[in-house]
């Protein structure tokens, strides 16, 4: 609560700073903005920015460090008997104290020394909040008055403001970079922990996947095998089926839309295809699990085939349908980007429409289409919801699309959902799988983007 009050106070101060800066600049210039280097608003903005930014920085640094310092103070103030607690029991104790402070645990139920510590903690936090508020307001006012004192008609306020804005934009863009980096590093770190327990070659080339490990020594059926090849095969098969559906259908519909359809038809078909892209994957998932799966099993039964109701085929087919608009709109763009002059050249030589499309237009658009297909493959590999619902869990080594298979993404989901201990190879395996997935899609995307860019350069 105190933080939000503080923020409101700071906001008010910033608004005041703006008006102070603006009117001060105007009065320095004798009331006429023509004597100023920049528009009066820039002097206001500069004052406001110098008022807000240092204060906000102080506030966030303080908030980051506050808890650690308070905890340390509370710990040292506690009776020595409690201080002796080490490691996890120490953490437990701290948790207990925090719970009492937050009111999650009524004080009557807690141990007296914990209640004492909690009181101490609350007291210290009150002091900390007050001093933070004081410090932030002082910093803000300091910024305001320093800038106000330095305002002069020759001050290049516009340039300074634009420099600050540029730095703010830079900070925002680096946030994305650092977050990505952080995610990658954490995945790599957890994977390395996994590879301490399970050798890399066993994970990448092992043929047996059963990640159930024993929690207690007396449990049965808990061998824990981490050979990921069945998962890779399952992923490959489902993505393969998906691409078999999506590439021809998507490509041919793109050719029709770009080369044959008249404007009226195009204006109907293209939006409908784009609606297909807007359907949430979970909807595709239950479409696969509840409609396509049973349908395929029924068809299989009628011709005497044994089709599992969770089959690679149903998941692959539905995933293919999901990817159709992706491929068709990308291919449509690529085909439309082929210059009309190339088509004219072929027509003028007496080529028919289909000759022109097959031998000239598609040839010219090919690199772009290949890039689009690679992007689509990386999407198929990373797709989760459809396969979770429709592909099944059994990590079988099979080439039969009518059987249930499992994929890398499905296993990541099952490894990490529910109550799990986070240091067993079972859960860490999810990070290793994630790392493989990340590397594969990254490589595919980089190749695809390179191919597409090269193609674009050719015609611009």
């Amino acid at each position: 609560m105190t933080h939000s009050v503080l923020l409101v106070a700071l906001a008010v101060l910033v608004v005041i700073a703006f008006w102070v800066g603006k009117s001060r600049a105007l009065s320095l210039a004798g009331g006429s903005s023509r004597n100023l280097h920049s528009l009066p608003g820039y002097y206001g903005l500069l004052t406001a920015l110098w008022c807000a930014i240092p204060a906000l920085i102080v506030m966030s640094v303080w908030s980051l460090g506050q808890d650690a310092i308070l905890t340390h103070l509370v710990t040292t103030s506690m009776p020595t008997t409690l201080q002796l607690a080490q490691g996890s029991s120490h953490d437990l104790l701290l948790n207990e104290i925090r719970n009492v402070v937050a009111g999650n645990v009524p004080a009557e139920l807690a141990r007296p020394e914990v209640v004492t510590a909690a009181r101490e903690y609350s007291r210290l936090r009150g002091i900390a909040d007050l001093s933070l508020a004081a410090l932030v307001l002082v910093v803000a006012l300091f910024g305001l008055f320093v800038v106000r004192a330095r305002l002069a008609p020759t001050l290049r306020a516009r340039n300074a403001v634009e420099r600050i804005v540029e730095l703010l934009l830079l900070a925002c863009s680096t946030i994305a970079v650092f977050v990505t980096l952080g995610i990658v590093l954490s995945v790599v770190y957890e994977s390395l922990r996994f590879f301490h327990a399970v050798p890399v070659h066993e994970f990448l080339f092992g043929l047996d996947w059963s990640p159930q490990t024993a929690i207690r020594a007396d449990q049965v059926g808990s061998s824990g095998a981490f050979g990921a090849v069945p998962l890779f095969l399952g992923t490959l098969m489902i993505s393969g089926i998906a691409m078999l559906v999506a590439v021809p259908v998507g490509l041919f519909s793109a050719i029709y839309l770009a080369e044959y359809a008249d404007r009226r038809l195009r204006s109907v078909i293209k939006p409908v295809l784009e609606v297909l892209a807007g359907i949430p994957t979970v909807v595709y998932g239950f479409f696969a699990a509840l409609t396509v799966g049973p349908l395929l099993r029924g068809i299989g039964e009628s011709v005497g085939l044994d089709v599992s109701s969770e089959s690679a085929l149903s998941a692959g087919l539905v995933m293919g349908i999901m990817i159709i608009p992706f491929i068709s709109s990308l291919a449509d763009d690529m085909i439309s980007a082929v210059p009309q002059s190339l088509r004219d050249g072929a027509y003028a030589l007496g080529a028919t429409r289909s000759e022109t499309i097959r031998q000239v237009v598609l040839l010219a658009a090919l690199p772009g289409i290949v890039g689009g297909v690679l992007l689509a493959i990386s999407r198929a590999i990373g797709e989760t919801m459809i396969v979770v619902m429709a592909a099944g869990l059994s990590a079988k080594m099979t080439a039969n699309p009518l059987e249930a298979v499992t994929t890398v993404t499905v296993q990541i989901v099952t490894l990490l959902t529910g109550d799990q201990e986070f240091d067993s190879p079972k859960t860490l395996a999810a990070f290793a799988l994630g790392l493989v997935l990340f590397v594969v899609t990254l490589v595919l995307n980089v190749i695809a983007l390179k191919v597409v860019r090269k193609y674009r350069e050719q015609y611009e």
């Binding site: 404007r263 210059p339 002059s341 190339l342 088509r343 004219d344 050249g345 072929a346 027509y347 003028a348 030589l349 007496g350 080529a351 028919t352 000759e355 031998q359 000239v360 040839l363 010219a364 050719q458």
Partner: protein, 276 residues
Amino acid sequence: MTDIANSTVPPVPPECKTTGVVTVPQPLITARGVNVFYGDKRALKDVSIDIANNQVLAMIGPSGCGKSTFLRCFNRMNDTIDGARVTGSLQLEGQDIYEKRQDVVQLRARIGMVFQKPNPFPKSIYDNVAYGPRIHGLAADRIELDEIVQTSLKRAGLWEEVKDRLAAPGTSLSGGQQQRLCIARTIAVNPEVILMDEPCSALDPIATARIEDLIDELRASYAIIIVTHSMQQAARVSQRTAYFHLGDLIEVGETDRIFTNPRHKLTEDYITGRFG
């Protein structure tokens, strides 16, 4: 010359009839009363002219005068434009170009076309030239095809420059070379007429001079119709010149006569740079 010119194009006087002689003895193509409409807009008005063999006809006129539109009538390239409609009569050796039974593929094999911007296919130099012969089945075997490619490149004056890299992509050539490649591609089909739509407007002066020399050589074997914005070019390469103005064919005649002694006021104003 053009920068002192008045950019507003004067209107055509009513009841405009083409000045000069539109007919030639033994014409290869005869056009009579040709109109082109883009939707409701009439882009070409009652144009009649004969095309002679072994001769270059230059079509000149200010932008939007209909000369490119008229050129695209000969090989029915206007078919590819939505809403374009052609009326009147166009005959190639007595055969109606716009007849219902006319096979466009065969027509375009007889009437080739070179475009404003070089447009080589994304194929090798060899395949660019071999494309036409292949789709029309002109070569019985690879040896014959090699020969067609070689003679076409030679006639286009490109052979010496590319004979060692026939497998290189056509797009790797310079602009002037690409345009000569497109000419080689056109003559590989062995047409009777070559249409050229401002073939040098995207080229530098040296490449332009080479193309103009080439046009002069090709005249021995083909009827050539060239649309150009450059009056000097028309004077250099053509034997006959047609002046178009806002969709009307104003004047036709021997090139020398048109440029030295234009009979129509509009022609005179255009070639002396009063507008355009």
